[in-house]
Amino acid sequence: MTPALELCELHKRFGNTEIIRGISLAVRAGERIAVIGPNGAGKSTLFNLVSGRYAPSGGKVFLQGKRIDGMRPFAINRLGLARSFQITSLFSQLSVFDNLRCAVLWSLGYRYTVWRRLSGLADANTRAGQLMDRLGLGHKRDELVKHLTYAEQRALEIGVTVAGGASVILLDEPTSGMSHSETTRFIALIREVTAGKTLLTVEHDMGVVFELADRIAVLVHGELLAFDTPQAVRANPAVQDAYLGLMKTAGLKRVGR
């Protein structure tokens, strides 16, 4: 079976600094992958390469067997890959509903339509409305995004990402800046809205990682140290040396981040 997402010898260089040093991995359809690694390991860069924000310096990326490296982000998105951002990235002067509505338009085939009224697009309105309710934002329908709380904005960030019905979802630290109880609730939400999809998520909360992920990719200095099931990764001495040990010693500092 064709992997949902496949990276082959991916490289990224910024000037003389090599951030990603030859990463290869294949993700099966429907799998949930957690990408972990210390700060500066290249997790966000990896997502930026896959989603088209940066062009790789070398290597290939395949989405459902189709080569996508070097394509523009919107072209990759149209092929069924969507991503969220670590720093909330929404349309701040638009309402919650309009944020979601904009995000569903392309997948429903409306493109750059000027001859139809937005309010008359029943399918777009229904899909945006249902998603809004699942995100728990139904009561904030007409609220401008800039007036939402942080947690609400994070939820909408996920909503805008999954709204277009992409089959491969990349979430960049979806729970960053959230309290523990919020995180628990949020993980349940992520499970719900990404059900049946292929999910890659960057996550720092180890409890969440081991609970959510089918497989864990451990990134250290731009290289893939391990890519295996949670149990195997936990038992992997190299990972323990390079990363989990580091996490334990730096554990207290991380909480404050």
Binding site: L90, F91, D98, Y112, T113, V114, S119
Partner: protein, 433 residues
């Protein structure tokens, strides 16, 4: 176009009502103001409304600051006047009433061509490119006097033949109603544009172009298409202007014209749909009427602009909405005193300000005419110190009183800002919840 800024169950009716009122004003205005001067004024206002709304598709809805939008209205005007001359010469059979559409198509064609370059970038680079393109086109119009008439311009005559049912558009009133019809249709279409998927995506591109790329749309394409829509309506406005003035010279594509679009659209308000309409009315009144009243009109304009940008960045439209909401919340009967205080203190401040400006202006520019300034029928001897002192006192006291008397409105103002002055502009009305 107006009522959606207020919560109401019967928004749909409210919207229909405000459109009806807009149409009615367009129809009745020349019957109320019957002088031929006011008919000219009203015609120019109609033309300005179209181009200001077109400009705001870029600025308010797309976040594109253009310093060269006169290129599209201006080239539309040139195309229209040449077409008119072809019709006059009998070489083209086209009703005069359709010539503004030719202007629109010319504006669209230029936007298709030049917009491709301009909209490659957003924000500051976009502004720079439009400035460059504007200068370029202006230089070109001077380089080819055969096409653009040099500094004298290309003249035309809008009366060709006997016209249908005797409507030749010769009399100003006939042309006014043509302009009014175009204004109504164009405003309706531009309003409808804000409710289309592309219109909403344009707002999204304004807010966050990068994220738009990750929901499947090319922000450059969104900007480009919006630019073309704007160019078309600007061209229609230019075509109407060609019929109105029957002469088109290179100043119609110049930076001063482009700057006026920007200035008055901001003054009217970019964040609400009807803001540029207010701006358009002011643009015509200022350039036609205020410039007759005082030689210092550009100074006033600059002052008002700076104050507006600092104090009420939402423009006059945001002030209108704040006060309508205030009145709606308090009840008409309870706001009389506070408005009386506001109006009288503003009048005192304004009087003092105007006196100072006129006195300085007279001293600096018209000093050769002697120290006596005649203003509103009153002679002021500028060599006397007490005149200066009095004017300053009026201004300062007026300003202080104004600061006090606007306090009751502060809450309404803060509330408006909390909700976002532009929030209602992007919110569709009359939609099922």
């Amino acid at each position: 176009m107006f009522t959606q800024y207020f919560p109401s169950r019967s928004r749909r009716w409210g919207t229909a009502f405000s459109w009806g009122m807009f149409g009615l004003i367009l129809i009745l205005a020349p019957l109320a103001l019957t002088s031929s001067f006011s008919h000219t004024l009203l015609s120019q206002i109609g033309i300005a409304i179209i181009v200001c709304l077109a400009y705001n598709i870029l600025l308010g809805q797309g976040g594109m600051l253009s310093f060269g939008h006169a290129v599209y209205s201006g080239l539309g005007a040139f195309m229209a006047i040449h077409t008119l001359n072809l019709v006059s010469a009998g070489r083209l059979a086209l009703p005069v009433s359709l010539i503004p559409l030719v202007g629109g198509l010319a504006g669209l064609a230029m936007a298709l061509l030049l917009g491709w370059v301009s909209t490659r970038r957003a924000a500051t680079p976009f502004a720079m490119i439009t400035l460059g393109v504007g200068e370029l086109v202006w230089a070109i119009t001077l380089m080819f006097p055969g096409i653009f008439g040099g500094e004298t311009g290309i003249a035309g005559n809008r009366v060709t033949g006997s016209g249908l049912f005797g409507i030749t558009f010769g009399p100003q009133i006939q042309l006014y109603y043509l302009i009014a019809a175009y204004t109504l249709v164009c405003v309706l279409l531009m309003y409808a544009f804000t409710r289309t998927p592309l219109g909403r995506l344009l707002n999204a591109v304004r807010d966050n172009p990068e994220r738009v790329e990750f929901i499947g749309f090319d922000p450059q394409m969104v900007r480009y298409l919006a630019f073309c829509v704007s160019g078309f309506f600007a061209g229609v406005s230019g075509g109407l202007g060609a019929l109105q003035f029957e002469i088109v010279s290179s100043e119609v594509v110049g930076a001063a014209r482009s700057g006026a679009y920007l200035l008055f659209v901001v003054l009217g308000g970019t964040s609400l749909f009807f803001g540029p309409i207010i701006g358009a009315v002011l643009m015509v009144l200022a350039s036609v009427w205020l410039s007759e009243l005082t030689a210092a009109w550009l100074l006033y304009l600059g002052l008002v602009f700076v104050v507006m940008v600092l104090v009420a960045p939402g423009g006059l439209a945001s002030l209108v909405v704040v006060h309508l909401r205030y009145v709606a919340a308090k009840g008409l009967r309870n706001v009389g005193a506070s408005y009386l205080a506001l109006a009288s203190s503003a009048a005192v401040m304004l009087l003092g300000g105007v006196l100072l400006v006129e006195m300085f202006y007279h001293r600096q520019v018209n000093a050769v005419l002697g120290p006596t300034l005649v203003l509103m029928g009153v002679s002021l001897d500028l060599s006397r110190l007490d005149v200066w002192f009095g004017a300053t006192l009026l201004f300062v006291v007026g300003a202080l009183l104004f600061a006090v008397s606007r306090r009751p409105f502060d809450r309404a103002w803060a509330e408006f800002h909390r909700q976002g002055q532009d929030g209602r502009a992007d919110r569709p009305s009359g939609e099922p919840a």
